[in-house]
């Protein structure tokens, strides 16, 4: 090895004046290829919602949003929950017609008592001969709203208060105050990029580009100096033969290519590249990132969760209660599709399944191995982690795709980074106090045993 290196350096010395120029060029080339990659990575980081785990629920309050009419925030937040659970499948808080009419300004349009009666039992209101109700029914082709007799007057009022607030043109999120309980955040508005991170990466790119430009300029100047000096020397007559030899020396590319050092280097790089590719291939076995199988019914999350903003909890009923989020049973589909889009061939498949008493066999997208225990309730309910952290921009997916790698490294990484959501949770009170006594860092999942084997393997 020593002899090999000696030869390489001897060669380099021979080509001394040219070789540093080559090396500088190589540096620039490297920088040029690395920069775009780095920029891309920064972008990826910026859009990764893992950094957006909002623990105190205050950060997405906009600085200068206009305040809505005075409403009790607790009432509004209750109303929001009820609205999302019962109403949002058919109604929007804006003017938009989803299934039923848009509810913006409903409090001005109708009397409160009328609304309560209507929600409790629309059939009765229609039968009472109420003009408005009958017109509405006609307008919506005789599709009557389902009755909600179990909602109390107070609950209905909270829903109306919420509509009042949300419909006044404001983002309802801001009023309810950082509600992130598995709620879908529409792209563009909710997935706020951590401000520091985003800004930092931009300025970093600018600095890098500036450095590149400066380096290029330096190179240019150096080349100019070299050629100027060469020209000057070659014009000189009284040059010693040794110096002239150096000056007129040509780079012997053939010798370099033929040298065993070069061959060895190439072989080494080749071996490393092959090794890396093979390793990556082996490590990716069992990882189904990007897996987006065709499902028996072409259900679109983009339509339901994205466009109509139906709360995730509405269908995935156990996501904040149990281990699995649970795939909705067909009776949940029928809550809406008993009247909506009944002619669609995809919806017809639901009817067929119910008639034949044959459940729909959805293709599992996320296949966690049996040896790993994962509990949705811990993350979604206790940790208040948004669905998108692991499932990606599910609200924009026409077909559900496997986004995260679901490897142990990925889990551990998040546990290292994520702060424990201990707000208003008496379970964590003592732990947070103890932690803040010992450390200035926020308490992360890893600090309270989040990396221990038996948290996931038993």
């Amino acid at each position: 090895m020593n002899t090999l290196l000696d030869k390489f350096f001897a060669l380099a010395r021979k080509n001394a004046c040219k070789s540093w120029g080559i090396m500088l060029f190589c540096c620039l080339l490297g920088l040029a290829t690395w920069l775009p990659a780095q920029a891309q990575e920064n972008n990826a980081e910026a859009t990764l919602p893992a950094d957006v785990v909002d623990t105190d629920g205050t950060s997405d309050l906009p600085a200068g949003g206009s305040q809505p009419r005075t409403q009790d925030p607790a009432q509004v937040s209750q109303g929001k929950t009820i609205f999302n659970n019962y109403c949002s499948a058919c109604h929007a808080v804006t003017n938009e017609v989803v299934v039923g009419p848009g509810l913006q300004g409903i409090n001005e349009r109708r009397q409160r008592d009328w609304l309560i009666n209507w929600i409790h039992n629309p059939q009765k209101v229609v039968e009472s001969g109420d003009q408005y109700a009958n017109d509405l029914l006609k307008k919506f082709n005789g599709n009557l709203m389902p009755a909600f007799p179990d909602l109390t007057d107070q609950e209905i009022q909270s829903v109306l208060a919420y509509i009042d607030v949300a419909g006044s043109g404001e983002n309802a999120n801001t009023v309810a105050g950082g509600d992130t309980d598995g709620k879908l955040v529409p792209s563009g508005s909710g997935t706020t990029v951590a401000p520091g991170g985003g800004l930092g990466s931009t300025s970093f790119t600018i600095i890098l580009v500036a450095l590149l430009v400066i380096l290029l300029l330096v190179l240019l100047v150096l080349i100019m100096i070299v050629s100027l000096l060469s020209k000057f020397l070659s014009d000189k007559k009284d040059l010693a033969p040794e110096d002239r030899e150096v000056l007129e020396q040509k780079v012997n590319w053939k010798a370099i290519a033929g040298s065993s050092a070069f061959k060895g280097g190439v072989a080494l790089i080749f071996a490393l590249v092959v090794g890396k590719v093979a390793n990556d291939q082996v490590m990716s076995i069992g990882i189904q990132q990007g897996y987006a199988p065709k499902q028996p019914i072409a259900y679109s999350h983009k339509l339901h969760a994205g466009q109509y903003q139906i709360d995730c909890n509405y269908c995935h009923t156990t996501v904040s209660k149990g281990k699995t989020a649970s795939i909705p049973s067909l009776n949940i589909c029928m809550n809406c599709h008993g009247v909506i889009k009944t002619a669609s061939p995809e919806i017809q498949k639901i009817y067929a399944a119910i008639e034949q008493n044959k459940p729909v066999e959805w293709v599992r997208v996320h296949n966690l191995p049996d040896l790993a225990y994962f509990n949705h309730a811990q993350h979604v309910n206790v940790g208040q982690v948004p669905c998108q952290t692991c499932h990606g921009e599910i609200q924009n997916m026409e077909v559900v795709q496997h986004i995260s790698s679901l490897t142990m490294g990925w889990c551990i990484d998040c546990h290292r980074k994520t702060e424990v959501n201990g707000k208003d949770n008496a379970y964590y009170d003592k732990l947070v106090a103890l932690h803040s006594k010992e450390s200035k860092e926020p308490m992360r999942v890893a600090n309270i045993g989040g990396l221990e084997c038996s948290k996931c393997h038993y």
Binding site: I285, G286, Q288, Y291, P293, T317, T318, S320, K321, G322, K323, T324, S326, I327, P328, S329, L330, N331, I332, A353, I354, N357, K358, P359, V360, E361, W362, V363, R364, N367, P369, D370, L371, A372, Y373, N375, A377, Q378, N381, V382, D424, N425, A426, Y427, L431, L434, I448, G449, E452, C453, S454, K455, H457, Y458
Partner: protein
């Protein structure tokens, strides 16, 4: 005969049984094809492949394997079509129900179900009978539900038939029998369900020739006879002095779960309670109860009567009552027992399992003198778990033999197997025109029947129970019937022409008969829903509460003479028997010095009467005393073994007058009375299913019916050694602790003086003098900030019953490995109960001979039970030796085992001082070699979905039920609070009827475990092997004996 109810075939060839298929089916690998010309070139190579072919194939398979590895199988997620409102996937639902079996087993339980399938049995804390724990058999019972041997529908002979045809045929034939005036007999075991009794009454009303014959495989008829046909309910929590005579009330007796709890209440000592009951036990075989007694004396069955009569005379003398004339007989501690009984009048109890009505009458007389009735014996709110009438059964057997029975219906009984004259009875059964069985499988009896109308498993049934007079409980289904089975009661009602819905029949019964007892307030619906929720309805408990104080007072004032007998409702104080006549009979029957070898049959706590013999968990459950499983054997005292030159595992032939000859292996049992041998019933099933068949021998033929009472002792048996040996699968072969401080015990006297008496506090010699082992350590130790899970095990209240062991198995998917693997010492139980005998040897003789002597148990040893499980050491020796860190420490005090990381070096097991780590030598699921529940889809339904099923080559051990810890923590977090004490509890602690195992968070100063730990730290508390400073998270409390 077709044994299995379902036939599966893999292809048409198999169905049609083609010749080629049959040929090939025997070989796992296909045989080489006909030789081709190419093969001719390479003679000798019959497989026809050359070296190159081999390389090609290897290359191809390597590629294929790697390609296959990259391809993920497509898995499906199948939701409900219409999700039931109260089922949330992955969240357990609990339903209150009752466990009932034909052997007097009863537990009020909660059934844990996941996605609609029962997976675990837990105690019902609302019950006043079995509030704290459950029995072994109740714990194992979910597996019996998922038994592939169960019939998938009714059978006519061996052929499947539908219910409609069955009903019309049976009704027609019953009517035919009835119209000809033929006798119809309904033979059942004890029925504790009031509604079932009503259904039987309805059936009998429809067929006037019908009679209900009740009998028990293990009968208590003498005790019943003395108490007007009721089984007294004992209250050990009030008994300061207990004298047991051949009564295994902590083990195989009915109500043993309740009695264990009561008994432990008296046995527990602590800072505030420095007294405990004294327990004398006289018995033949060493039973669980005898093992817990302060004074245990082995006696021969032929001495029992004399012992009881002499005890009576001693008690009577002290109390000033008339003596009876019997030959004098003295046994150890008999005088003390009599003195203690009289001194503790009103709080004393004599309990006997004798099947001699004279003996029971004398026992009742003693109990009357010591004021037990009304205090420690309750005959008003009596136990209903045994009500069999041996006479009625004997008459029925005779009727059948004489061909006088037109039709017979068997319900929960298997007389061909379990009746003393079973074999002959089986042959004479063909004289009966119509034979119907409600058995859930082909049993010895049901396979001889014309029709089998399988009953639901209890987890699929509606029903009720009255295990104690005035204490009702409900049985509710926790799963849809798996097979086309039907309530037996419904069958009876249909044949009686009544309604065909047992559920509404049950509701009607409760509405008319039990609802009024609830005070009648409110609607029946709400009462019914409340009962379903509580699982119990105990109008008598409330009544007892109000009169309890009154009763004790009157007892104290009662004069110390044989009180007048009364026979009001219930058993009164025992019926009027001329004591002198009884004494004469006893003097005639019993002898003080019989030389004949006597056989005493007994029941094992797991297998019982053999009804659930096909439950692999019960078969693999080691008997608490012999520590043997998968077998029955002749327990022989050491002296007899020496005389006959028998060693363990030798086979002997057992003969007795008029009894079949059987051949059994021998197990040398310390504590077995001299001149006696013991043999367990419940084994030797010939038709019950794969796990039960050909395990052990059937001992029931050795039972006899003497004077109308079934007797389980044989006065003279002949034992001859025969050729051959038989390995007995024992999980513990070491009998004593060899004078090492592993189990620590003290006498009550010493304990009162010094709470730390008997506890060994080791000191390590250092340059600065002796120090406590924890004071010097090379480890930094762990900090448990959040939780510190720990356990306190009270060896004084542990009776050794083993419910915890089975609870652990079911909770943690512990595999069943079978007899041979247990012999190979590869059992997988995470929790074992070590049973140690005392030794007579001098522990100070530290020579090889001295050590050998120390290994020998005493002829009548004292016994200690010690539950042993992973100690979750803070300085765990296993953690330091694992090369891949598969076992590591958690911040909550747990020693974690990560299966997916383990590579199976087994270093950890070698380095574990407690020997609690288990290695998976095989893959125990989907493996034909281990054809138990994990080898079929139905059996796998019992598995706990929260616990990984381990595969071959990995280590496993107790996790402190980490899945329950995680679940409990999550529940608390979801509700934004800290976990409450008692909310997170391991399966073993939950199943323990005596509350000997206490589990919880040591960091929570309010928790029971932390308080007990701190309270006893300087008292009875000790850590096993404290001197090696591994700092376990489990503290044991010394065993205290109450000796004078």
């Amino acid at each position: 005969m077709e044994e299995n109810n379902k036939i599966y075939w893999k292809g048409l060839e198999e169905l049609s049984n083609e010749l080629d298929f049959v040929k090939n089916a025997q070989n796992e690998f296909p045989s080489p094809k006909e030789a081709t010309p190419k093969d001719a070139e390479t003679p000798g190579d019959v497989t026809g492949s050359s070296r190159r072919d081999f390389l090609k194939m290897m290359g191809f398979s390597l590629t294929a394997v790697s390609l296959a590895a990259c391809e993920q199988p497509v898995r499906h997620a199948i939701p409900y079509i219409n999700k039931p409102e109260d089922i949330e996937p992955t969240i357990s639902n609990y339903y209150a129900s009752s466990y009932i079996d034909s052997d007097g087993g009863y537990d009020s339980i909660l059934v844990e179900t996941r996605e609609g399938r029962p997976i675990k049995i837990e105690p019902n804390n609302l019950s006043s009978l079995t509030r704290t724990g459950t029995s072994v058999r109740a714990q194992a019972s979910p597996l019996s539900l998922y038994d592939t041997t169960r019939l998938n529908g009714p059978r006519k002979g061996s052929k499947p038939i539908d219910w409609k045809t069955v009903d019309s045929e049976i009704t027609a034939r019953l009517q035919q029998v009835a119209s000809q005036g033929g006798a119809i007999r309904l033979v059942t075991s004890t029925i504790i369900s009031p509604t079932t009794k009503a259904a039987i009454r309805d059936f009998i009303a429809r067929y006037p020739g019908a009679q209900h014959v009740v009998y028990d495989a293990i009968s208590y008829s003498a005790l019943l006879r003395v108490h007007n046909g009721v089984l007294p309910f004992y209250d050990f929590s009030k008994a300061k002095v207990v004298v047991g005579i051949g009564a295994d009330f902590l083990g195989s007796w009915p109500n043993s779960t309740t009695y264990s709890y009561q008994y432990a209440q008296q046995r527990k000592v602590g800072k505030k309670k420095k007294e405990m009951s004294r327990h004398y036990q006289y018995e033949t075989n060493l039973t669980l109860t005898g093992a817990n007694a302060d004074y245990r004396t082995p006696i021969k069955p032929s001495q029992e009567g004399l012992l009881v009569a002499n005890l009576y005379n001693r008690v009577a003398k002290l109390a000033g009552a008339a003596a009876i004339s019997v030959p004098d007989f003295n046994a150890s501690f008999l005088d003390n027992a009599a003195k203690d009984l009289v001194a503790a009048r009103g709080q004393a109890l004599v309990i006997s399992g004798s099947q001699d009505v004279n003996v029971q009458a004398v026992v009742a007389a003693i109990n009357r003198i010591v004021g037990a009735y009304g205090s420690t014996i309750d005959t008003t709110a009596y136990s209903t778990l045994k009500a069999g009438d041996d006479n009625a059964m004997a008459n029925f057997v005779q009727e059948v033999q004489q061909g006088r029975v037109g039709a017979v219906i068997f319900y929960n009984v298997n007389p061909v197997y379990e009746h003393p004259a079973g074999a002959a009875f089986g042959q004479s059964l063909q004289k009966v025109g119509l034979k119907i069985s409600f058995a859930d499988r082909f049993t010895e009896t049901s396979s001889l029947c014309d029709y089998i109308c399988p009953d639901h498993n209890f987890l699929e049934s509606w029903g009720d129970a009255e295990p104690r007079r005035g204490y009702f409980s409900i049985v509710q289904p926790t799963i849809n019937p798996i097979f086309l089975t039907r309530h037996a009661q419904e069958s009876l009602l249909v044949w009686a022409g009544k309604q065909n819905n047992y559920f509404s029949y049950l509701q009607d019964y409760w509405r008319t008969n039990l609802f009024p007892q609830a005070g009648g307030a409110g609607a029946f619906e709400s009462f019914w829903i409340q009962t379903l929720h509580d699982g119990i309805f105990e109008p008598a408990a409330a009544r007892a509460q109000s009169t309890a104080t009154q009763a004790t007072e009157t007892n104290r004032e009662r004069p110390l003479t044989a009180a007048p007998l009364n026979s009001a409702t219930g058993g009164g104080q025992g019926i009027a028997v001329d004591l002198n006549a009884a004494a004469t009979a006893i003097a005639r029957t019993y002898k003080a010095n019989s030389t004949a070898t006597e056989l005493a049959l007994y029941e094992k706590i797991g297998i019982g009467n053999g009804e659930h013999g096909n439950n692999p968990y019960l078969q693999e459950f080691p008997d608490p005393i012999t520590r043997a499983c998968w077998d029955n054997y002749l327990t022989v005292p050491k002296k007899m073994a020496n005389q006959m030159e028998l060693v363990q595992g030798d086979r002997v032939r057992l003969e007795a007058n008029g009894k079949p000859v059987i051949e059994v292996p021998v197990l040398i049992q310390p504590g077995q009375a001299e001149g006696t041998v013991g043999l367990a019933v419940g084994y030797g099933r010939t038709k019950a299913g794969k796990a039960a068949e050909n395990v052990g021998v059937n001992a029931f033929p050795y039972a006899t019916v003497v004077n109308g009472y079934a007797s389980y002792v044989v006065p003279g048996v002949k034992i001859t050694k025969i050729e051959g040996t038989h390995n007995i699968a024992q999980v513990q072969t070491h009998h004593t602790v060899m004078a090492r401080p592993i189990v620590q015990e003290a006498n009550l006297n010493d304990y009162v003086k010094n709470p730390a008496a008997g506890a060994f506090r080791p000191k390590i010699a250092t340059s600065e003098g002796p120090k406590h082992p924890t004071a010097i350590s090379m480890w930094d130790g762990h900090q448990y900030v959040n939780h510190s899970w720990g356990m306190v095990i009270d060896m004084n209240s542990c009776t050794g019953c083993g419910a915890c062991v089975v609870a652990c198995n079911v909770e943690n998917n512990v595999p069943v490995v079978g007899r041979q693997e247990v012999i190979n010492r590869r059992e997988m139980h995470w929790l074992r109960i070590d049973r140690y005998y005392s030794s007579d040897a001098d522990p100070t003789v530290r020579t090889p001979v001295g050590y050998q002597d120390m290994e020998e148990a005493s002829a009548n040893p004292e016994v200690v039970f010690q539950p042993m499980l992973c100690q979750h050491c803070q300085n765990a020796p296993c953690e330091t030796v694992c090369p891949v860190i598969a076992t590591s420490h958690s911040s909550e005090g747990l020693n974690q085992m990560t299966y997916n990381r383990c590579i199976g070096t087994r270093y950890c097991a070698n380095n574990c001082p407690y020997k609690v780590r288990r290695f998976n030598w095989f893959k125990y699921h989907n493996n034909e070699k281990f054809d138990f529940h994990m080898n079929n889809d139905l059996g796998k339904m019992v598995l706990n979905p929260d616990v990984t099923v381990r595969s071959r080559g990995v280590m496993e051990k107790c996790t402190f039920c980490v899945q329950r810890i995680q679940e409990g923590k999550l529940n608390a977090k979801k509700e934004r609070r800290r976990p409450r004490d008692g909310e997170i509890i391991t399966a073993c602690a939950q199943a323990c009827a005596t509350e000997a195992i206490v589990f919880g968070d040591l960091n929570d100063t309010e928790s029971r475990v932390a308080q007990l730990w701190n309270e006893e730290n300087d008292g009875r508390g000790f850590r096993v092997l404290e001197e090696i400073n591994v700092r376990p998270q489990i503290t044991y409390l010394t065993k205290i004996r109450n000796k004078a």
